[in-house]
């Protein structure tokens, strides 16, 4: 009976062992860009021996459209159809950051009602984005049912966006000076019904996914981010909060109407894929709660946008600023430089995936089992377009 080459397979993992493809021990393998275990348009170049990942390099650029360069050649207002496309599942954070940066540089005061409406859409898109993520996270561990539930729930949120803005994916609802419209008649009641439906479904998801032995066994202990990595790697959002860090821009540097809302940090201690999922589940319930609070307390009337100069001839005073918000993945910001002309001099998009999908992923992947790589990657919740911009 052939017993294989003893002592060669499976090879014991030694992190210090150099990857030498000529040795015959290692195999180069690509995960992505077309692969069910990859998030978005990116790929991982892996060096594996047996089932163990020895080296990982993240490759981006498959969706590079040169957003930042294009924005330098367009009027301030013409960039709105561009910015929302930088993060497909949650475009509204781009709209908000870009609008807020312009308003700060131009000295535009946003009406109170518009702040509530902006805040409402940011929490709605947080919920929609997490619903998309949780399906991917479950799918990476073999749970095909949850994506069917969560995609349906996300569609209900997209219905609300369609009623509000006319667009399901890209809304272009937040504009400099405010928002494009007030809530349509009957929208708030419909939104509350949808929140009830999603909350009930989340209870089911929690039961089926978070109490499932397979998910627990595979996610617990996977991709543990040590506490001292948080600042060393610039980790933010749920990835940091799952390591016990009470950091959330909505609480620490409140913007819009977050200082008027009642909510707390959602944290965990394990810092593994399971705890990161738990934090995000908690933030989904929290988003539903915040949406209910806003619908109950939002001013009924009032202006929803400020008067602006002619957008085709709008020159923004020279200056620079950095505006950020807490998106589902952490710190999302726009650094905007104006030279006083009718076009931005420089726009830089700071997305949390920049560090989470490259330096963190490349480091965490080493020593992992190949079959866990997709689950690990989704647990970091990354969107490639905000890396390659």
């Amino acid at each position: 009976m052939f017993e294989g080459v003893k002592g060669f397979f499976p090879p014991p993992y030694d992190p210090k062992e150099p990857v030498d493809f000529a040795s015959g021990k290692f195999l180069k393998m690509w995960q992505g860009p077309q692969h069910p275990g990859i998030t978005g348009n990116m790929s991982l170049e892996l060096a594996i021996a047996g089932d163990t990942v020895y080296d990982c390099k993240t490759h981006v650029g498959y969706l590079h459209r040169g957003f930042e360069k294009l924005m330098e050649r367009r009027l301030w207002m013409q960039n709105f159809p561009l910015v929302c496309r930088i993060a497909v599942p949650e475009p509204d954070f781009n709209e908000y950051c870009y609008a807020a940066a312009i308003e700060e540089l131009a000295g535009v005061e946003v009406p109170e009602k518009a702040k509530w409406l902006r805040n409402l859409t940011l929490e709605m898109i947080r919920l929609a984005s997490y619903l998309m993520w949780i399906g991917g996270q479950a799918g990476a561990f073999g749970h095909g049912t949850i994506i069917q539930w969560s995609a349906t729930m996300r569609d209900y949120v997209l219905d609300l966006f369609e009623e509000l803005s006319g667009g399901r994916i890209y809304h272009m609802y937040i504009i400099p000076g405010g928002v494009r419209s007030d809530l349509p008649e009957g929208w708030a009641a419909h939104a509350l019904e949808v929140m009830d439906t999603i909350e009930k479904n989340l209870d089911d998801i929690e039961l089926v996914m978070f109490h499932n032995a397979v998910f627990k066994l595979r996610a617990k202990g996977l991709g543990v981010i040590p506490k001292d990595w948080i600042d060393r790697f610039g980790i933010t959002g749920p990835n940091a909060r799952a390591a016990g860090f009470r950091r959330d821009i909505r609480k620490d540097q409140p913007y819009l109407v977050y200082d008027k809302l009642d909510f707390d940090y959602v944290t965990a201690e394990g810092s593994d894929a399971y705890d990161r999922a738990l934090v995000r589940l908690g933030e989904m319930y929290q988003a539903i709660d915040l949406i209910r609070q806003m619908l109950a307390r939002m001013p009924k009337g009032g202006e929803f946008k400020a008067a602006l100069p002619n957008p085709l001839h709008w020159k923004i005073p020279a200056g620079e600023t950095y505006v950020k918000s807490e998106c589902t993945r952490g710190e999302y910001g726009f650094y905007v430089v104006s030279d006083g002309s009718d076009k931005p001099r420089r726009v830089v998009v700071r997305g949390p995936s920049y560090t989470h999908a490259v330096s963190v992923m490349e480091t965490l992947a080493k020593g992992q089992n190949l079959a866990d790589l997709a689950g690990l990657m989704v647990s970091l919740h990354t969107y490639p377009p905000e890396i390659e911009r």
Binding site: R232, R350, S359
Partner: protein
Amino acid sequence: MRTIANDIAERFEVGPLVEKRADLATLEADAKDVPELLARLRDRHGYAHLSFVTATDLIEEGVFVLTYMLHNHAENHSLAVKCRIGRENAAMESCHLLWEQMWTYQRELKELFGIDFPGSPRVDESFVLEGWIDIPPMRREFDTREYSERTFPTRPGRSTKDPATHMKEKLYPEAL
């Protein structure tokens, strides 16, 4: 913030601290001082989080402005450290030992602006533009339209209308 500004001014040649907002300030320093300045801000003054690193091309002045955006979580305050480097043979000392994600930003700046960071890991590997042979595209002199027309010529039999002229012809034909 004043204490930090005084401490920095005692040790480095820096410009005035400009407070943009209560939670955002900028500081311009000499490029040669930046690595040490960043290390001091990180280790002594709590600016332990690096939000991003980027460059702004001031072609008319012949310089790139490098911006290192730091954040102090305890004080909830961001500080942009800026420095200027010449556009010709642009190079900057690598700071990859300060933050683990720094090399990625430096690799991006090498590819998109042509700014070299000698010694930075994988700085010569392509980042988003595999096989790119033109000038670094984020430089101001790179003309996206000219590049596009040169690289992707119009297919025979197709004509393109200038949007402004087309709309005038359509909406106000009597004015033409």
